[in-house]
């Protein structure tokens, strides 16, 4: 059995019984998804297809109307603990410097929570910041950093407590193309060095193919996974590979699935 197993999920947004009956929409219908332990998968699809919703289902932040979500063999009934999350907005705390922002999860997650704030924790944050090229920026405040650097810091915050699951909701969508491609490399090496299960939601097909082991393509209204494409490219993948024929073919194949989904 896979590490994350989503089966037959129906999810209805809005009020089904109250006064706002008309606002109820079927966000997901008969959605399936399985993710192996330490696998890196990408969810792609048109906007409004329920990618982010599926992400929240895995973390237990939303509950499905029907079907089951299992993580590590156990049914998810309430928000999981010890998950890392990152979003399009860096959502760093503006009153903390970068290092203290990265250390935030250690103030919440056990067993680190009970441990005193130590040089060890500080070193841990600095080591992680070093791997994304932010070592000298630990004492800076978030607004002093560029958007790309803030996203690096956010990735560090999502990983500092060594979560078993990392959920990424379009983390690079607001960045310019060069910074984004640079961060693909950063994220890839983070994942290769500290194995964890990653679900990346994105609308950028090249990003999905570059980073993931499997690309799951979703269609909209109601949202569900219509195709899953394993990406057999060797690691570490480089930006040069994105211009080679096999990479381009994979991107085209995914795009083809998405356009099929639109006409369904």
């Amino acid at each position: 059995m896979n590490f994350i197993e989503i089966a037959d999920i129906d999810l209805i947004y809005g009020d089904r019984s109250g006064v706002d009956k008309g606002t109820a929409t079927l966000a997901l219908s008969k959605a399936h998804l399985s993710v192996g332990r330490n696998e890196f998968i990408a969810l792609v699809g048109p906007s409004g297809c329920g990618k982010s919703t599926l992400l929240k289902l895995v973390s237990g932040l939303v509950k499905s109307s029907q079907g089951s979500v299992r993580v590590g063999g156990e049914e998810v009934t309430k928000p999981l603990k010890n998950v890392g999350m990152a979003f399009q907005n860096a959502t760093l705390l503006p009153w903390r410097n970068i290092r203290d922002n990265v250390l935030l999860p250690l103030e919440i997650v056990e067993p680190y929570r009970s441990e005193p704030k130590s040089e060890l924790k500080r070193a841990r944050a600095d080591e992680l910041l070093g791997t994304v090229g932010l070592l000298e920026f630990g004492d800076r405040m978030p607004w002093q950093l560029s958007g790309g650097m803030q996203q690096r810091a956010q990735l560090c915050r999502a990983l500092i407590h060594s979560p078993s699951i990392l959920l990424l909701d379009e983390p690079f969508a607001a960045l310019d193309a060069f910074t984004r491609e640079e961060l693909w490399g950063v994220l890839q090496s983070l994942w290769m060095h500290r194995k964890c299960t990653v679900i990346l939601v994105t609308h950028e097909l090249r990003e999905a193919v570059f980073l993931s082991e499997t690309v799951h393509i979703m269609c909209a209204r109601p949202g569900r996974v219509i195709a899953s494409r394993p990406i057999p490219l060797p690691r570490p993948r480089t930006l040069d590979m994105t211009f080679q024929a096999d990479f381009v073919d994979l991107v085209h194949e995914c795009r083809h699935h998405i356009s099929l989904g639109k006409t369904l």
């Binding site: 929240k56 973390s59 237990g60 932040l61 928000p79 999981l80 603990k81 010890n82 998950v83 890392g84 999350m85 979003f87 907005n89 959502t91 705390l93 503006p94 009153w95 935030l104 999860p105 103030e107 919440i108 997650v109 056990e110 405040m141 607004w143 915050r157 999502a158 407590h161 959920l167 909701d169």
Partner: protein, 260 residues
Amino acid sequence: MNRAQVERLAPWITALIFLMLWWLVVKIFHIENFVLPSPIEAFTALYNFRYPLMIHGLATLGTTLAGFAFAVFFGLVLGILVGSFRLVYSSLYPLLIGFNSVPKAALVPVLVIWFGVGTIPAIITAFLLSFFPVVVNVATGFATIEPELLDVLRVLGATRRDMIVKIGIPRSLPYFFASLKIAITLSFVGTVIAEIIAGNNGIGNVMLIASSNFNVPLVFAALIVVGVMGVGMYAIFALLETRFTGWSVRGGGLEHAVGG
């Protein structure tokens, strides 16, 4: 003179211009001093009555600060509750707004029936007038937390207490300090109103007695005392604000951001 010096002098120059205009209006229209005394007469009264004004001014300051302290404490607690629990918000907010719409001056006689003439009704009036902005601002700070940030914390297994302590309170501090500057001035208004209606000391009481004796220069001297105390307290809280929430002010404000 450089820009910083001009900025430091600007409020004094404005105040001086205001006093000169006041003086000019009184002189040009030959206004009697029991209608509108000139600033010179007002300051003369301020000097002549400096001891009673100081004693009553300090009484007013004490009453105001007591009411203000209650307002800050209850405002903070209520603001945190309203901002972080939806049920508290929906059940309490309409009542709060209705309560705030009641003219507080009309409540003073009722307070006198309950507590007698003196300081207590004034403290309560100061409290009633000033606690609402604290509640609203703190609640706003809590309500405008990015939902993504709360998601990040929730999937770490954070308790509600974690979210309030780590995110909510620091996040709402700028709002809180902004509200203190409003609340302290409103607190003075509340105290003086109560002292005028039912006080046996304080600046409001001085004003009541002075105006019944047609000593209008003294009324204005008392107003100057309240005004100066208000500006002084405002300045103290403005200083505390920059001290504690410097992170929320990146540069010199909008003007500098736009004008460079």
